[in-house]
């Protein structure tokens, strides 16, 4: 039986938040700080900051069998393993068991999930970039999908609030396509990256190489939460950070919510339906199945926040059927499940860099360089081959034996080589915008139920022509920039994987002006049910090319404060 944390069970609540990840944590904090008695539901197990980061200090030799994982264990995460990095001995506890949590693929879709308190805020890449009006205006300008009912000026103050609270280290650049924020001191570029930065600026009009804007504390400033302190440059972030140096729900927003006394947390609670009252035309609560006992329970509240992650929140709406909403709550437009997006990645280039043989670095910097979008932002940057644009992430580092091995096969010479740093390599990889397509969608299969009797998700989505054309440019420009930077043996690569692999799945309950063509309004409320808010990636109307979490946080904080105002005015 799931337990209640921080407060006893109550008859009803002011608000219910479904999900404890990036969005759910922010909804919980803002609602609780506004005085709302809030129940936060999480489908997975409890995770306590620090205490439950069991691998945080482990070295290779500390893991059983040096981290070897048996084929039987691997089979439990055969889809989660598609990333190639998520399910090692140090991090596999943060990703779901694919056998317990199956989904169906008409076309391959890489659905990477973490079912536990904190969700993917524990394992995220921590790259934090603002959208600009180039992004918010894009659909309207290109006549694609629907227009965003929000512009940069609406969301900018919320970006400020979020950045100040979570801590984002980065460099101010004054670029129109990548607005500056409230930054912690930037992490620095290494010697080779500095050269690349100079050469790219010299040879490519307007292109900039900067450090990744990353949600890490990089100063002695005090940040609220559960004992957060500055980054120690271990780069073991995705095991859970015992220093609380990067932002996670567990270290930051959930402790803030708890501190108000208004938070009740119930893990092991699988939400599957938002309950609708035909008379008041409002939602009255949420139905859950206890993960452990499979008991069905209904919790009541005046405001509901769906923050269960893109596909999960939309699935809950699809299952919330009533006389008014026979096809799912908020689905009058038939847009639920459609326009699923991600970022396409895996194309780029790498090369070797001669020089700086006597130079090295200390510390494992938990971020790389960033090259902000330079395509289709006006002037001579416009491309006729594709719409929208992409950015690059990358880094330079000294390799190990692989680079030097050709000359020395074995023996003493090999030994000398493997104990010394190898030559420098520099690589960059593109992250491109994916357009919203109505036929890129997921549906629910009521014939294939999971262990809890709930319908499973079926994906039918793919990259299309615009994405494929953009990837060609990503490779060409990557090669050109690395060559101009002085790299040798520059090679491009292209491993597209499938939608989902960016772990930025978004869309499926899009925001728009018109209830006939969209699911939520500019405040993230369902058009038809004003006390239900959707603030995770589901509401995204387009994807831009930057990592999305900062934008989810900003919209969630804005929506939660909107809801709190409505609540205080007695409008919900």
């Amino acid at each position: 039986m799931g337990k209640f944390y921080y407060n006893e069970e109550q008859e009803s609540y002011d608000a219910i938040v479904i999900g404890t990840g990036i969005s759910g944590g922010w909804a919980a904090k803002e609602l609780c700080e506004n005085g709302l008695k809030t129940l936060v539901l999480e489908r997975g197990r409890m995770v306590t900051h620090r205490d439950d980061y069991t691998t945080a200090h482990s070295e290779t030799w500390d893991f059983p069998d040096n981290g070897a994982i048996s084929p039987e264990e691997k089979a439990k995460q055969f889809k989660q393993a598609r990333t190639g990095y998520t399910v090692g001995a140090a991090t596999k506890q943060w990703f779901v068991n694919d056998l317990e949590h199956p989904y169906n693929e008409i076309k391959r879709f890489d659905w990477m999930r973490g079912y536990h308190v904190g969700g993917r805020s524990l394992t995220w890449g921590r790259q934090s970039y603002r959208w600009s009006d180039i992004d918010f205006e894009a659909n309207k300008k290109d006549n694609i999908g629907v227009d965003w009912p929000v512009r940069y000026k609406d969301i900018a103050p919320w970006y400020d609030k979020v950045e100040k609270y979570i801590g984002v280290s980065g460099e101010k650049l004054g670029l129109p396509q990548l607005p500056d924020g409230e930054f912690e001191p930037m992490m620095e570029l290494n010697c080779v990256e500095e050269v690349v930065k100079e050469k790219v600026a010299e040879n490519f009009n307007g292109r900039v190489v900067t450090i990744g804007r990353t949600a890490h504390i990089n100063s002695d400033k005090n940040f609220k939460g559960d004992g957060r302190s500055r980054c120690q440059f271990r780069s073991r972030c995705s095991r859970g950070c015992p220093f609380g140096a990067y932002f996670s729900s567990n270290s930051s927003t959930l402790p803030a919510a708890e501190a108000t006394g208004n938070l009740t947390l119930r893990p092991d609670s699988i939400a599957y339906e938002v309950v609708y009252d035909e008379k008041t035309k409002k939602a009255t609560g949420v139905k859950v199945i206890d993960r452990l006992t499979k008991e069905k329970i209904e919790f009541k509240a005046k405001v509901i926040f769906l923050c269960a992650s893109t596909v999960a929140s939309t699935s809950i709406l699809m299952q919330s059927k009533s006389d008014t909403f026979p096809n799912g709550m908020g689905n009058e437009s038939d847009q639920l499940g459609r326009n699923i997006m991600d970022h396409h990645l895996g194309s780029g280039a790498r090369g070797k860099f001669d020089g700086f043989e006597d130079k090295y670095y200390k510390g494992r910097r938990p971020t790389g360089i960033y090259i902000p979008r330079f395509r289709n932002i006006g002037g001579d940057s416009n491309s006729t081959a594709f719409l929208r644009g992409y950015g690059y992430q990358g880094s330079a580092s000294r390799g190990n034996w692989e680079e030097d091995i050709a000359e020395v096969s074995y023996g003493k010479e090999l030994k000398d080589v493997i104990l010394k740093p190898g030559g420098w390599t520099m690589g960059i990889m593109g992250f491109g915008e994916v357009l919203p397509y109505e036929d890129n969608r997921f549906t629910l299969d009521y014939n294939k139920l999971d262990e809890w009797g709930l319908p499973t998700v079926t994906f039918d989505a793919e990259f299309k022509e615009n994405e494929w054309k953009m990837r060609e440019d990503i490779k060409e420009q990557a090669v050109a920039m690395l060559k101009a930077a002085g790299c040798r043996d520059v090679l491009s690569y292209d491993n597209p994987g499938a939608l989902g692999l960016g772990i930025h799945e978004m869309g499926t309950a899009r925001m728009g002006h018109n209830p006939k063509t969209s699911v939520v309004n500019k405040n993230n409320q369902l058009h038809a049910v004003s006390n239900v808010y959707v603030t995770d990636g589901s509401f995204m109307t387009s994807s831009a090319c930057v990592n999305p979490s900062l934008t989810y946080m900003a919209f969630t904080a804005r929506a939660a404060n909107h809801a709190a105002e409505q609540f205080k005015k007695g409008l919900v």
Binding site: H57, E59, T60, W61, D65, N66, A68, I69, S70, P71, M187, E188, L189, N190, C191, E194, Q232, F233, R234, F356, D358, K359, Y360, Y361, K362, G363, R364, R365, R398, N400, W401, A406, S409, Y410, G411, K412, L414, K415, I418, L419, K420, P421, G422
Partner: protein, 215 residues
């Protein structure tokens, strides 16, 4: 050899916790010509014997320990045994058998136990030599037809040359990986700093690590 010394060499000196069956065989087998008997989990004792010699040909003792001194052979045996599917195990054993067969032919010997370090080294050297394009292509085709036979449920085999070459490259990779990720080497022969505390983007190697690579 005195039992205490054996135990020290095999385990305690390098912080490696020796599994119980291994301990028993040490106790029982002190007279072995190679110092100690080790009871592999995945390999046969014959294969284990060859592997232990080979890991030290690949990374011999210098100012730093040899591969076997930090138990790289145990690492390989254990890792493959735990992490591989039976198909992967079969293939690895097949490749190894081809390598051993080639070494026996080269040395003119019938029994793998009698292969000495010099003979194993000669075969390893020939297998690791940069192969001609024709050889690379032949190896690729050999692997392809092996995989096809497995997929079709047919009897699968590799020719001696392809199998031995594949084994040599693979085992070298294992040895380097096992060596660098051992506690002894990571802590004492690489630059080890689990909590760097700060980032220095560009300093001299001498000043930052005394010439070592970061662990």
């Amino acid at each position: 050899m005195e039992r205490r010394v054996v135990l020290k060499n095999l385990g305690l000196a390098f912080g490696y916790v020796v599994a119980a069956p291994t301990l028993i065989s040490i106790v029982q087998g002190c007279k072995n010509e190679n110092g100690v008997v080790w009871t592999p989990e995945f390999f046969t004792s014959e294969e284990g014997n060859v592997l232990r010699k080979l890991v030290d040909v690949i990374l011999p003792k210098t100012d730093s320990p040899s591969a076997s001194e930090v138990n790289v052979h145990l690492f390989i045996d254990k890792y493959i045994n735990v992490a591989s599917t039976s198909e992967q195990k079969d293939l690895f054993k097949l490749k190894m058998s081809k390598f051993i067969a080639l070494a026996k032919t080269n040395a003119g010997k019938d029994i793998s136990k009698e292969l000495n370090v010099e003979e194993l080294e000669a075969t390893l050297a020939s297998c690791l030599k940069k192969s001609s394009d024709a050889d690379t292509e032949a190896n690729r085709i050999a692997m392809q037809s092996y995989n096809k036979a497995i997929a079709d449920g047919d009897e699968a085999d590799l020719d001696v040359k392809s199998g031995a070459a594949a084994f040599a490259k693979e085992v070298r990779g294992w040895v380097i990986h096992g060596y660098k990720s051992s506690e002894e080497i990571a802590k004492n022969f690489l630059a080890f700093d689990p909590i760097p505390g700060k980032f220095v983007p560009c300093g001299t190697i001498t000043e930052l690590t005394g010439g070592k690579a970061w662990a």
